[in-house]
Subunit: 420 residues, 2 copies
């Protein structure tokens, strides 16, 4: 029996085949995401992976249904696995925002699902780091959010040589469009042409733009000039104060495909341009109002960073650590008469926070030692009586091969020492 | 728009209403689960939340479909949200077991789903700590697994006064059944009668048992005697060697409902008997063979511990910590002329691992201080020039209200000090 196409199994390291997905790499990324979000004062939330279908069609229209993992449940409800987190966040905010002092900063690490026509290697699920700030109109919030994005990627070992945030603004594009007498009804259609500029031929783009009363030359000139708006200038200064200028540049190519963005938008890209966007986000000041049917009106902004492109980039830049079992000690039981005492020792060592393993059943000494090496234990430990009959713990470093005997009561402290 | 019935939203603490689910409590439990599993040398894995329906019907029969969150996907596949993790684990083990040295110890923290007819407060999803040992027949593995279960509950602040592991054995019941001339074809039906003993009236049980050629008196006597088999005796001794005797007792009431258990079975219960089982598990030596169509034959055992009953118990025994934002410092910006320098300081402090927040926009001093208190910051920190024009950081403990000025370069070290 196979797993469903487009879904992933995550196996422990060391992986028996290099093309398998690593549960350790996934957890490493989760820890970095969660760790940096917390340092920034973001608080974790989560919602259900399954929601009412209308939560997703409300803001994106019916055409999105083709990409959804939706179905009718046994109670006759139209439901869908979540394709993104923002609608769930908006729903949760609407329900209890009065209980939280504004602005508040929340994050989540949801698994998201899309039913895309199956192409080779194309996934139908991924995990995404979502960080959002609710209840703050000022662009200081945009800067704080972008700083979190930058520092998260830095905490994974990437530098300004590896990635850059392309900063843009729907407001800048709106001013451009209206300044060129664009038809307000065509505004979102115009954004979508801009969104596709880098994926379509100049001829295709120019033709579409002409129909909207504009030309590719005007649009290209605006992008090339890349003159920051006053709002973007403020954000750049805020990031400069933090020492993060090298990680960000104005790039009006970025406009984001989703309909609900209202102001500053941005995407993180690898500098070499080898991969799809690492992350993307922006302001969506009207979404909470839309989801609440007009009852709650709160400005908001956020970004999402998926695990798949990120992992590809971390591998390509060789900044992923080597994952092993992290065993502090493997307890050798060479004398079965000492098994009970060994179990007690193992239990006490684990009780102090050490990662300890041992042979479950009787085995030859060399086989036990081989197992300790396979598990990449830092030490072996074994009980032995000295000539006076006193029980001692022999601790051996598998790196230096140095061995010393300590009273049992001191074994944990000895192992903790060489841990640091 | 509401969330679907039976699903949970998880909100950050402090909760605006006590009946909401806490994302912080959830993460606290996850950390304890993951932490103890790792200390025991268990390695994390995960599979997809959605699987082919037949993966679940293969071992449990078609009758389980009524409880599944199953549907037909857009590709015409019969699929289901996972109701339990063991079939996925077995599938994953079958695919790559040759790449892992036996025995191996794996764990996962999946979200699981059941479509149960909606009753008030009845959930359709929960999270479960799953720990399994693959490839070891010896009962030393059963003892190791039960020790992990006990130590996980202990790490959450529960003691031998709060819970006990009820240890039993399908083998013991099999010997009993065959010793009483039970009809082999009726064996699983007999286990199900035993499984329901504590939930049905004596008359109901007796009638069912009589039809199977037995009596309630015989069964009750066997349970009351509670004589451990040789295998259970070995496990009790192993746990005693670890100092865990007070956490376990023989109780043949436990037999587990699922069809696939083959040997030792056990359940964790609160001592007062107020809650449903906290955890349950046992040996399933034939399941890997079944899932692989006979190609792979590996003994296996595991347990599952859900988050819902566990959280109820932790609350009832008052052993949950108080959750706050864990802010090491809230940076006051009372002079807007110092905002840039403050942003730099905040960024540097966060860079050392400290959790730091600050007012995104200009605000009055007392409002800023109130915010620091709301967020339960351990310290406030603010920049100030001394009379010589040198910039200093004033660090104030919100607990002791003691304040001191340090050079900026020493601010992080000062905050880390009072962290420990």
């Amino acid at each position: 029996m196979d797993r469903l196409p487009g879904f992933r199994d995550f196996y422990p390291e060391p992986l028996p085949q290099p093309d398998l997905w690593s549960a350790d790499a996934r957890q490493y990324i989760f820890d970095k995401w969660r760790g940096m979000a917390r340092r920034y004062g973001f608080r974790e939330y989560d919602g259900p992976p399954l929601e009412a279908l209308e939560l997703f069609t409300a803001k994106s229209g019916e055409e999105i249904v083709g990409q959804l993992y939706n179905f009718t449940d046994k109670g006759g409800r139209e439901v869908s696995l979540r394709p993104e987190m923002t609608p769930t966040l908006a729903r949760m905010v609407v329900a209890y925002e009065r209980g939280y002092k504004k602005p508040f900063k929340w994050f989540a690490l949801p698994q998201l699902f899309r039913y895309e026509r199956q192409q080779k290697g194309r996934l139908r699920e991924h995990f995404q780091f979502n960080a959002d700030i609710i209840g703050e109109k000022d662009s200081a919030a945009d800067a704080e959010l972008i700083a979190l994005l930058i520092d998260t990627l830095r905490s994974l070992g990437l530098t300004e040589k590896d990635f850059v945030i392309r900063l843009s603004s729907r407001n800048a594009w709106q001013d451009f469009f209206r300044g060129h007498n664009g038809d307000a009804a065509q505004e979102y259609a115009f954004y979508q042409i801009v969104d596709k500029l880098e994926r379509e031929t100049p001829e295709q783009s120019d033709e579409k733009l002409k129909r909207a009363g504009l030309s590719l030359r005007e649009v290209s000139t605006f992008i090339e000039q890349g003159k920051p708006t006053a709002e973007l200038e403020t954000i750049l200064q805020n990031l400069a104060a933090r020492g993060l200028s090298d990680y960000v540049k104005i790039d009006y190519h970025v406009i984001r495909g989703l309909a609900y963005y209202t102001g500053v938008v941005f995407e993180a890209f690898d500098r070499k341009g080898e991969f799809r966007a690492i992350a993307g986000g922006g302001r969506y000041d009207n979404l909470v109002k839309l989801i609440s049917g007009g009852k709650v009106d709160l400005p908001a902004l956020g970004f999402g960073m998926g695990d798949v492109v990120l992992l590809e980039l971390l591998k390509a830049r060789a900044v992923l650590p080597v994952f092993d079992a992290g065993l502090d000690a493997f307890c050798l039981i060479e004398d079965e008469a000492l098994r009970s005492e060994s179990l007690r020792l193992i239990h006490d060592l684990r009780g102090t926070g050490l990662v300890v393993d041992y042979p479950l059943t009787a085995a030859k000494s060399d086989k036990q030692f081989k197992r300790a090496q396979e598990l990449k234990a830092k030490h072996t430990i074994k009980l032995e009586r000295n000539p006076d009959g006193e029980m001692l713990a022999k601790v051996k470093s598998l790196k230096t091969r140095q061995e010393s005997a300590v009273p049992i009561a001191e074994a944990a402290a000895r192992l903790h020492e060489s841990k640091g």
